[in-house]
Symmetry: C2
Subunit: 355 residues, 2 copies
DNA sequence: CAGGAATCTGTGAGCGGTCACACTAACTGT
DNA sequence: ACAGTTAGTGTGACCGCTCACAGATTCCTG
């Protein structure tokens, strides 16, 4: 005997913006069942694919759902299915990165998008310091989320190990440098990208091709430099190489200053990121050199600033939207206990005016 | 890598992946209770503040929690408390904005941070088109989240109305232009900011101060232009005013071209965003004008590009970290059914080299 | 036309917490 | 001494859903 809907306020306001003082109780699956004249089970079946439901019941339930404005209660469902339909996007980096690195600004919405298409939502977490890292780990471990998308460039990040130990489905963005880490990853082919740009600069006839490498404790920084060396071999002199401590604009300015100081007849520079390249551009302009006439500049990422810098940057395109999509794919496979492995996506040379 | 695939049956049914066989069952509150030799209720009390618990029981429970690796199940808790401890960050804008607008890159992590400090997590949602908007609304309405942080600049956004009708706690970033909208908001004082910059340019002795206004269907675009007019009054000639269709770089380039076409003796420009200013810079450089000697340029936002553009931009600082913090404050008040109202934060002139 | 398969439906038993309530025991004040 | 607090505890009733199972139809198919 299920009692009728008592103790609801007399307030029947529906669409109107009428001031409803107390929270109107949300209709439950039982309300819908009663309204449709069927059982809980049937409503549930309709809600989960509609298999084994007669056309009549289906229609009745759908109408009841519409009429009552019913929405399934996520907590109740998660409680029994043990699936939260949410994924954590963990940024295990100092805060500034989110501020400055344009790559996140495309990776993040792309992941949101790809997840949304699968009915999953993205929970953003930043793990800059020890305390935040613990909070994130605690959160993840208590099964708030079905999986983790991990963005951390620097090697030796403790989050990798912790995640790995806890058996939670996780995918990294970019190849983890730490060899102990077996979490699958998705990344662009940084090394080949480095080769592409270096090859291009050499083919354009440049004789003194310098490189502003990224931080060597990141896969991107390391691999791009390797690609450069793959092409130039021993011709890649020490004084043509500077490694920046980060991928940012200021670092690019400084590195470029160092380079022209050490080697004034440089006629080309490959910077390991667009931001570095943009900094290099500034230094070159201030030193009175014209780009690309005196010095050609190549970037990496094809981020938004590549097109808006002056001159627009010739760069290596990282297919970040694709990276996001595949990260989600791999994570989904992991969540479903299907086999999944790391993926490396091809890069592409984008020629603009700077080289 | 994971070992061979041991799934039973090739069933590919939707969501019908069986109960995960390998997962060892997470300890429940009953396990902890048994381990500590107390009842469920006592454990629950410990978990929720520890009031009315004897020191002995407290210690026993804490040890049991530690030993068993227990973590509370969020779904179970949410089911009864009706609180999800999550907040949606809804970006109701075309995708590109997240890509290009540097403001989001500071607002977003700042909100994440502020929420995390209150034990809330941030769920990122992008509502670019009709379909996505419905998905977001559906999500929010089904009480997945306790509240919504809404970022939408353009007036007439249907999300406002929908959110308002549904009685869900919500706070907007930036003043909604639509007068029907009563959702509280937090924003910088755009109008006063516009006055500050215009006043500064006038005080520096500039005679022909133009403005590149933002889109007039956004509060920022509209108010900054009003601020400019507050100072210049009728001296603000039509041919000194151009309104860009968005706050972006390209729009700035184009607008600047229009301005110098219509009025070659412009000696100062106030751009309604740093990105617009940056575009103006490019056009000015190409037209052979020096900044700030020939033309002074003022921006707005004090975003990351302000410091890295060439020359560095004199601009108006929006306290976005503060905006984020106060948005969370207001939202929290709303969630707790405490009174809360909109807040407008002061802006600040930041002098660099461009003006 | 019997009988097995396939379709459709309702029911009860949880999922893992919280919370109100009842109860005990020790501590008050008069 | 007795009632009245107050601290500390256990219990049962949910919260809203899914899922396995059993029962009831209908649909073949030999």
């Amino acid at each position: 005997m299920t009692g009728p809907d008592l103790r609801r306020g007399p307030n029947e306001a529906l669409g109107a913006a009428g001031p409803t003082p107390t929270h109107r109780r949300m209709p439950t699956i039982d309300d819908v069942a009663k309204l449709a004249g069927v059982s809980r089970g049937t409503v549930s079946r309709v809600l989960n694919g509609g298999h084994y439901v007669s056309p009549g019941a289906l229609a009745a339930v759908q109408r009841a759902v519409r009429d009552s404005g019913y929405m399934v209660n996520a907590s109740a469902r998660s409680l029994v299915t043990k699936r939260s339909n949410a994924v954590a996007f963990v940024l295990s980096e100092p805060q500034e990165r989110l501020f400055t690195d344009p790559n996140f600004s495309v990776l993040l919405p792309a992941c949101t998008q790809a997840l949304a298409e699968e009915g999953l939502s993205l929970i953003l977490m930043v793990a800059a310091d020890e305390e935040e890292r613990n909070r994130v780990l605690h959160y993840v471990h208590s099964r708030h989320v079905d999986g983790v998308l991990l963005v951390s460039t620097h090697g030796g990040d403790p989050v990798f190990g912790a995640l790995q130990r806890s058996q939670i489905p996780a995918v990294a963005c970019g190849r983890p440098l730490d060899h102990e880490v077996t979490i699958p990853f998705v990344s662009a082919d940084d090394r080949e990208g480095g080769r592409q740009m270096t090859r291009y600069l050499r083919e354009r006839g440049h004789q003194h091709i310098a490189i502003i490498g990224g931080p060597q404790d990141t896969a991107g920084g390391y691999d791009r430099l390797q690609g450069y060396r793959d092409i130039l071999g021993r011709r890649a002199l020490k004084r043509l190489t500077v490694c920046a401590p980060d991928f940012g604009y200021e670092a690019g300015k400084r590195a470029m200053r160092e380079l022209i100081g050490a080697n004034p007849d440089i006629d080309a520079v490959f910077a390991a990121s667009d931001l570095l390249a943009s900094g290099a551009l500034t230094t070159l302009r201030r030193s009175g050199r014209r780009v690309p006439d005196d010095v050609a500049v190549g970037g990496f990422d094809d981020s938004s600033i590549a097109a808006t810098s002056d001159p627009p940057l010739t760069t290596i395109r990282q297919p970040l939207e694709q990276v996001a999509k595949e990260m989600v794919e791999v994570l989904l496979a992991l969540i479903r206990h299907e086999p999944a492995s790391s993926r490396v996506l091809p890069t592409q040379l984008v020629v603009r005016s700077s080289a």
